[in-house]
């Protein structure tokens, strides 16, 4: 217990929390955009892999780090466009299409990696983002600029959703596409746009792993983070502020279990500690999500002229 309390005043611990939270913030905001528009995007896990790979590959080929982030966003957007084509325009099952995108994006990234680097023993490295040591804010100064971008996206997205006509249309299309269509707004275009933008954020979430957290690409590096984002959005009731809190909370548990693993000296199998943040997220979900107000038209395909 004492160990746990000492964590709370441990500077390094909080640095780790913020670092773990960053990709989750990007990812959860991406899911938020898609789901607010009424589209479930289970492609997130694969889109993060693709973002991680493309972002890293771009930088490895000699482009700048920010260019790598942009390339990851573009890769996300392309898979988002594919998902939107399948589920918004056609409209197919959102579950099946999303899982298909995850499998496809993951496999094609691994495949491309193997084709481009057929004989490497250790993963090739790049020069990743530096910490913002110029920043006079304690813990934040030991983060990369991507963390700052993620944090500032939260109020930006809130403003978009709650203070602009576009945000209103976006919230409405996830609640009642009929209401949106009746006002002469194109439902298909609006949803497609939201899915593309949300998927771009998922791509950026992936790129954080290769361009900031680590400096190389390896298999299984996304490791379920995408699925965590899908759960976090329910916890967050589809609100940007709560999404941030959710991501930080998960990161807190994750960082805590890493520490406990190290300090417990192998009394318990380490898998038990690994489980901890997931078990706690399930508990948190049960407590919070029972009252969650799902966007009413989530997973409801819209075909013009039907009800």
């Amino acid at each position: 217990m004492n160990e746990f309390l000492s964590l709370l005043i441990d500077h390094e611990f909080w640095v780790a929390v913020l670092r773990i939270a960053t990709p989750l913030i990007f990812g959860t905001l991406g899911v938020l955009l898609c789901e607010r528009a009424g589209v479930l995007n289970l492609g997130i896990e694969g889109i993060m892999v693709a973002g991680a790979f493309i972002g890293w590959l771009t930088v490895y080929s000699g482009a700048g780090l920010w260019f790598g982030v942009l390339a990851a966003a573009l890769a996300g957007a392309v898979f988002g466009a594919l998902h939107a084509l399948l589920v918004v325009r056609l409209p197919l099952s959102q579950h099946v299409a999303g899982l298909g995108i995850t499998l496809f994006a993951t496999s094609i990234s691994y495949f491309a990696y193997r084709v481009i680097f057929p004989k490497v023993d250790s993963p090739p490295k790049i020069q990743a983002f530096d910490d913002m040591s110029w920043l006079p804010i304690p813990i934040l100064s030991e983060q990369t600029p991507l963390t700052l971008v993620a944090m500032s996206l939260v109020p930006a997205l809130w403003y978009l959703l709650y203070r602009t006509p576009l945000g209103l249309a976006l919230r409405a299309v996830g609640e009642s596409p009929q209401a949106v269509e009746a006002q002469g707004i194109n439902v298909v275009r609006l949803r497609t746009g939201a899915v593309i933008a949300g998927s771009a954020l998922m791509g950026v979430a992936g790129s954080f792993l290769t361009l900031a957290a680590f400096n190389s690409f390896f298999f299984n590096m996304v490791n379920g983070r995408g699925w965590i984002c899908v759960a976090l959005i329910v916890f967050a009731s589809w609100r940007p502020g709560k999404a941030l809190i959710g991501a930080l909370l998960f990161a807190f548990f994750d960082a805590a279990q890493l520490r406990l693993q190290q300090s417990s000296g192998g009394v318990l199998p380490y898998q038990l500690y690994l489980m901890l943040p997931y078990v706690l997220s399930i508990v948190a979900l049960v407590l919070v999500a029972r009252k969650a107000a799902y966007p009413q038209a989530l997973m409801q395909p819209y075909v013009k002229g039907t009800r």
Partner: protein
């Protein structure tokens, strides 16, 4: 020229079906035009064409003398055409203000002018007496208030022509009166209104002119002052219609078939909980539960049929406490005619004969050792189809290919052929044509005459008064005392539906 709206030679086909056949109509400024017709006559199609939801196969539309681009809701809105749909197009989890301003500002604009929008909305609601809280979430509003939001939405967009699609179908008589007052004021301010309905009394009360559609064709057009109820009904149906006959009071026996004692229940689907509902139904009588939908009637029916559990209170069937589960209810011979015939009453993709035996598929008549006896099931289905006049091409087709009326007849046959002692019929004639309605009414009467107890849940007061021996009213989850049908007036039943106190409605009835 004074025409606000001219529809010229509109034709629209859906496959083989001609929904609108060369329809021409005009609407003058400051006029209420009633568009009458049965379900499926083509009223909604015509208005969806006007509003740009459908593109007509031929014909043209002029608004204030200018041609309207077909298939573009934005163009219709820009010209001042506003539509209040029968099924509201509101987003429940957004505020009134959000719903009203949705789509009125450029999507590229970086900020919404909420203060100005609020002011405009409040000015409008003042001017037309449509009181509403701009910040309330739509899901917290009553149906009447939601309709107000829809009207305000149209006015906010500068509507000069307002189309109301079946606006009274979900309102209490008092709310209807209020709506009519609003419409009169709108017309006085120079707006033009198309009022779509199939209720003759309302049409005669509110409109200046009447147009009647039947099977997609315009079969009557004339001034309201020259029209009579009989002639409109004749035009709508295409043959003489007998007005709905009141049923002679049956001789209910002293056997209590169903007894509810202070039943409370809640369910996830129903926003309203059932509170202390008490009711007795005797063999051979029809008891109707009147009320605007969404006030807990569905939950009441579900409790009796074993679908929903009670939280307190007791349900007794023939004097014995009933185990509240569906299997038990079916075994007791409780016939259930659910409100949603497409989703609850039948399984759309199963064949007609599978649907016909579904609730009793485990019965020895239709299966043995867990294997379905398809031959017996088909034979039974053919009997039902014959006896209950279900029109279909083949009992092998999925039931979704049948019309609503024929699905309902099959469900009715499936349940009534078991000679049930209790029939729970929720909105049994909702959305059906006159012929099917008459058939279902006569079947329910016959069942009561044979000694069955009938619990009829209906929003349609004409139906309630035509069939019921006793009537109870449901409002916000509370069930009023069941009184003899003669003890109620339109006025008192309307007040009870609106949730006014019992004492007051009694005074009105006296």
């Amino acid at each position: 020229m004074n025409a606000a709206l001219t529809l010229s030679n509109i034709t629209k086909r859906f496959g083989d079906l001609v929904a609108n056949d060369d329809v021409s109509l005009s609407l003058d400024k400051g006029e209420v035009l009633a568009l009458l017709g049965e379900n499926g006559a083509g009223k909604s199609t015509l208005m969806n064409i006007l509003f740009g939801h459908y593109i007509p196969d031929s014909g043209s539309i002029h608004v204030f003398g200018e041609p309207l681009t077909p298939g573009d809701p934005r163009a219709a809105i820009a010209r001042g055409v506003g539509m209040v749909h029968q099924h509201f197009t509101l987003a429940d989890n957004l505020s009134v203000l959000d719903n009203v301003t949705l789509g009125t500002e450029s999507l590229l604009s970086l900020r919404a002018s909420r203060a100005q929008a609020t002011a405009t909305l409040q000015a409008l609601s003042q001017r037309f007496g449509l009181q509403i809280d701009p910040y309330a979430l739509v899901r917290t509003l009553s149906v009447g208030e939601k309709q107000r939001v829809e009207i305000l939405k149209a006015l906010y967009r500068g509507a000069k022509i307002l189309i109301l699609d079946e606006p009274t179908s979900v309102l209490t008589p008092q709310e209807v009166a209020q709506l009519f007052a609003t419409l009169k004021q709108l017309v006085a301010e120079g707006l033009s209104i198309v009022f779509i309905s199939h209720k003759l009394d309302e049409v005669l009360a509110i409109s200046h002119r009447i147009a009647v559609l039947r099977s997609g064709k315009l079969v009557f057009e004339g001034n309201t002052s020259d029209a009579t109820k009989a002639m409109l009904a004749q035009a709508m149906v295409g043959r003489d219609v007998e007005p709905i006959q009141r049923r002679e009071a049956s001789h209910a026996s002293a056997d209590v078939v169903l007894k509810l004692d202070a039943v409370c229940a809640t369910s996830v689907e129903s926003r309203v909980a059932l509170r202390d509902a008490s009711l007795e139904i005797y063999a051979g009588e029809i008891v109707a539960i009147a009320g605007v939908s969404g006030n807990g009637q569905t939950l009441l029916a579900d409790v009796v049929c074993g679908v929903s559990q009670v939280t307190s209170g007791e349900v007794k069937f023939k004097g014995k406490p009933m185990a509240l589960n569906v299997r038990e209810a079916i075994a007791h011979g409780i016939a259930r005619i659910p409100e949603d015939r497409q989703h609850v009453g039948s399984v759309a993709d199963l064949s007609v004969w599978e649907n016909a035996v579904l609730p009793r598929a485990g019965d020895v008549r239709f299966s043995r050792w867990g294997v379905l006896n398809a031959r017996a099931a088909r034979a039974h289905t053919n009997e039902l189809v014959h006896a209950y006049d279900v029109r279909l091409a083949s009992i092998e087709h999925p039931i979704r290919k049948l019309s609503g009326g024929n699905i309902q007849k099959l469900i009715l046959g499936r349940e009534l052929s078991e000679a049930p002692e209790l029939i729970v019929a929720a909105q049994p004639t909702w959305g059906l044509d006159v012929g099917a309605v008459a058939f279902i009414h006569s079947q329910l009467r016959d069942a009561a005459a044979r000694g069955a107890a009938v619990l009829l849940i209906s929003e349609d007061l004409d139906e309630v008064f035509a069939l019921a021996d006793r009537i109870a009213v449901m409002s916000k989850g509370c069930l009023s005392e069941a009184r003899a049908a003669e003890a109620w007036t339109m006025q008192s039943i309307g007040l009870a539906m609106a949730g006014e106190s019992d004492a007051r409605s009694e005074r009105h009835a006296a």
